[in-house]
Symmetry: C3
Subunit: 438 residues, 3 copies
């Protein structure tokens, strides 16, 4: 499929051309202009829902950490959205969807490039949505992988190094491994299934987070004299706002992954997504209440996310009952996983590893267990999990180690004690309140 | 209509079947596949809008109460969503929409059960949306009734008892009384009209709240020596975020109750809903400024909700002018109602009774006054109000009294003084701030 | 086009009539009922997205100011939505879209008035959406202009005077100047282009803000002994929530301005809007880091808004590359503009002038530079900028000066020192926290 460069379109009345060509080219692809318009509209609604997940991450991560590092977290999360969108336009989209390629790596060229011809312009993607819709929906996904890392390395990572890491991770690592499945690469051909990204997004981000956390080490004072010192988040309302916005965004994350407004598929995805999240809440509530003897708010918040990550890989292909089971198991897993990482002295301030990595693995394997499609096989799912895990972990480890050797990746002890906000940014997140330096 | 159990679908590629069958079965129901897809898409958009109301309630309720009880409120509101969704899947949906029944109570069986046949699968509900869309939209409604109770009993209710109460209320009471109107029961046959739930949702929740508050009693120190001591909310920004999110969600609550994307009806509902809310703000501002001599933020926040609850019953069937009048009257009512309940020593920390119960009654009666449909009669509306009031109040009273006699419903005096967050959950909502125990 | 008054529809079953007439009249206008329904649904989605911008403004403005004035800001922003919606129904809509008129000022009568005839009822507006959809989408826009003023005059303006100013500004000034372009007036005939309101909304609001700030003067202590004293915002999380919600809402602000769900146009607008915002973040980050030697969170937040305001005028008519350039330049401009206004001792607590006025001008002129439509000319854009600037500034200046001479526009020194919350509203925004009076 010949593509022409974005830059040659500079002087072209693109929107006008698109509009005029819409009816014919859409019908040429086998759907009516009306259906094309509904499908495209739903995909754009899903796009803005995925966008709001970035606010969800920003709120959750800052809520679960200390107020002296809040400005820093908000800064990182705002910058990542911008970096993600721009690099995805520059190279990510064309690395992830390179067209015909060897199955491992391919590149369709720098910049956005409208496919040539009427059908390409508007009847793109089997007549369900336009080229631009395809790009912007996928671009919103891209930045989430880097954001997952952000939470795990919070309260001690150096801003500049993190921004460089994120840029490379989202511009190159995420789209290349993504092409293996969603770009039609070798794992896709093998029959691996990951509907909306339990592995391609959450797993990749989670493995990246694990590598960075290992290179970075725990926060000062977190593990002392063989004790685990709890470091409390500064605002549970902010964390709760974050989780609800993430859940909201997931209706677009999973619902948009249908890639059309197909009524049966999208409504099934809404049901499985909602019930898995609800089951995650209940299971983590019961588990944490039984184990910790207290109903722990941060656990049920992470429980809902665990259920959501768990159902992401198979939300269109499992039954409603299975979605509840997947969510329940995810809700149990997340509680023990948080405790496990702490025992391992792997310091993850917001539980990102447990939610995104561990439940991402669970969700991907769950497709092999619960899918109603007999083509989905557990061993192939396992191959996918391992392939993504090894590559994402190794790539993140290499990048972050290189940064450690050059720019440094960790702030000074004094800065960590006094807070990144005043040192990196020169501004506190809260002014006018008496705060304590926990 | 024969239904097959959810559990028999475990191994069935549901989404696939749904997709393949979509065009034919939709057309069989008299609408084109395109129109079916638009209608279904709008209903799913309305679904996520109603979902976000749960964050609105969580933010509003925690903002209007003290910071020592914030974790508890956030926990309750998160748990209720999960409980509401799961119980509605288990039994609520089939209690509320039992099919042919005696008009008072019916049950179509445990679990979700796709109607048999092509038409049932996708052409369900007059060809406007799928079975799964129907379920998830209604499920999002269900939990709101219990959430209304949550705000009224805040700062003193025992967590475990409240969770048990909510579960029973949302799983059994709400759907059974709901079936009387929306399930085609006796009140529906009598001509009672409640478009989106001024009574079926807000009234039921409000009557439940009143019963619980009476059983529970006021917060310590609220009414002492014949004085009413104001207990200030801890965060007006949080409360404001809550109200705006509730208003946002109401576009789905009312707009989705059209049960299709019908352009004339949905756009009229958007206008009446918006203008009633705006009128509620202005009327409560003028009233509270005149009565209390201060422009009270919490009053205008509740004023907008008062307008929204007021217009809910008739938002599709009154004129634009009438919607403004309904909102204005609701805005006046809510101010005096808040003062009235305080005078009665009925302690409702967030004004839930005034907003949901009192303005729910007003909105339901307003249909009898302002409806453009001559079939809507004031006396029938009154019968509905009384029937729902008596049943919801009695049921909630009985359940909560039974809990009082067994588990107990109120925390200890010490716990109430020191805050539920540390006692029930062992974690403060805010850490790193100097707080005062108001 | 004959219109009948709203008030004569009091007893008419409007929704019913609309529903029954939908298919025929829509088709009469040349689009199928299906396409009409999709278009109308998208416009209503855009409507609720623009609505949520009001929460974005409330959060951003209160986050960037001191906690002693937070209740006041939240009150103003809630009241403005209500005032905007109601006055737009009363007169704004009919001033802005008067039908045939002299091109400078026209009025189609008080109240909403459904156009007569089938086509008018539902096939209104070229068959893309209903009369009510048209009204409510435009009504949500109206209040934003007044809200822009709110941020600039924060922390010192008298509540009652501000409410009167806003009412007049949104009810009369905004719609009359709006009619010059969007109502088909003289600037429209001259070929001026402003797709979604860089000038018609943000410029008008920004010029109004400048006039009010000049009349009002700076906050006490802001400019002392030739020094600029930074007055810090009280909550960066709240400000960040505000910016993300504004960005979210902009998908409806720009995306809805397509006035249909046209796939090519709406998806292009999503891409240009997103990339301009992202470019604004990056450019403001680099600029502020270079100039201020610190990565400044409030600068990148305003940088994203700068990009959004900048792309608003041409988001449907510039290439993707151009959208990035427009955003980058806006991100640079906003940093220097903030510094410039401070040097001029024009005190704008939230940077509203730099974001809305300066970048609004930039965005409007950028259409003349980057538009792919050769009919868009730079000099005409400049004429538009000057015409809107002169009129909006003069009108706001006159109204606010008249208020200064009568009601007074500024709170007392004591009130300003101690905070508007306790003096105007008698209630603090935060209770239970130890606060300092910065």
């Amino acid at each position: 499929m010949k593509k022409t460069s974005l830059f040659s379109y500079f002087a072209l009345p693109v929107a006008l051309v698109l509009s005029l060509m819409a009816p014919e080219s859409a019908m040429a692809a086998g759907v009516s202009h009306e259906l094309f318009t509904v499908n495209n509209t739903w995909m754009l609604v899903a796009t803005f829902l995925v966008f709001i997940m970035h606010l969800g991450f920003a709120a959750l991560e800052s809520g679960l950490t200390r107020s002296k590092n809040t400005t820093n977290i908000l800064f990182k999360n705002t910058a990542i959205v911008a970096i993600g969108l721009l690099t995805y336009a520059l190279c990510g989209f064309n690395l992830m969807y390179p067209g015909d390629f060897n199955g491992w790596i391919g590149f369709a060229g720098l910049g956005l490039s409208l496919p040539a011809g009427d059908a390409g312009l508007i009847g793109y993607a089997d007549g369900n949505y336009t080229y631009y819709t395809d790009f912007i929906f996928q671009a919103m996904f891209a930045a989430t992988a880097a954001t997952i890392v952000s939470g795990a390395v919070a309260e001690r990572v150096k801003l500049s190094s993190f921004l460089v890491f994120s840029t490379v991770f989202v511009a190159i690592v995420y789209p290349i491994v993504g092409s293996w499945k969603w770009g039609g690469g070798w794992l896709d051909k093998m029959g691996f299934y990951d509907f909306a990204g339990s592995t391609l997004v959450h797993g990749v981000g989670g493995w990246g987070a694990l590598a960075c956390v290992i290179v970075l080490g725990p926060r000062l004072g977190k593990y002392e004299n063989g004790q685990i010192r709890p470091i409390l988040g500064h605002s549970m309302p902010l964390a709760t706002v974050g989780v609800f916005l993430l859940w909201l965004g997931w209706f677009g994350f999973n619902g948009g992954s249908v890639l059309s407004a197909d009524p049966g598929a999208v409504s099934l995805v809404f049901v499985t997504t909602s019930l898995a999240a609800a089951a995650g809440v209940i299971a983590s509530m019961v588990t944490s209440w039984a184990v910790q003897k207290k109903p722990d708010l941060s656990m049920i918040l992470n429980g809902s996310l665990a259920g959501l990550v768990g159902i992401t890989a198979g939300s269109d292909t499992v039954s409603v009952t299975a979605s509840i089971i997947i969510g329940l198991i995810a809700g149990v897993i997340v509680v023990f996983s948080v405790m496990f990482f702490d025992k391992m002295k792997i310091d993850d301030p917001v539980g990102a590893l447990s939610v995104h990595l561990v439940c991402g693995i669970w969700g991907t394997l769950a497709v092999g267990i619960f899918s109603t499609n007999p083509d989905h096989k557990l061993w192939v799912q396992l191959v996918g999990v391992i392939a993504y895990g090894a590559t994402s972990f190794a790539a993140a480890f290499a990048i972050f180690l290189a940064l450690k050797g050059t720019m440094g990746v960790r702030v000074s002890e004094q800065e960590e004690m006094e807070g990144l906000d005043m040192h990196e940014h020169g501004i506190a997140a809260y002014n006018g309140f008496q705060t304590t330096n926990q």
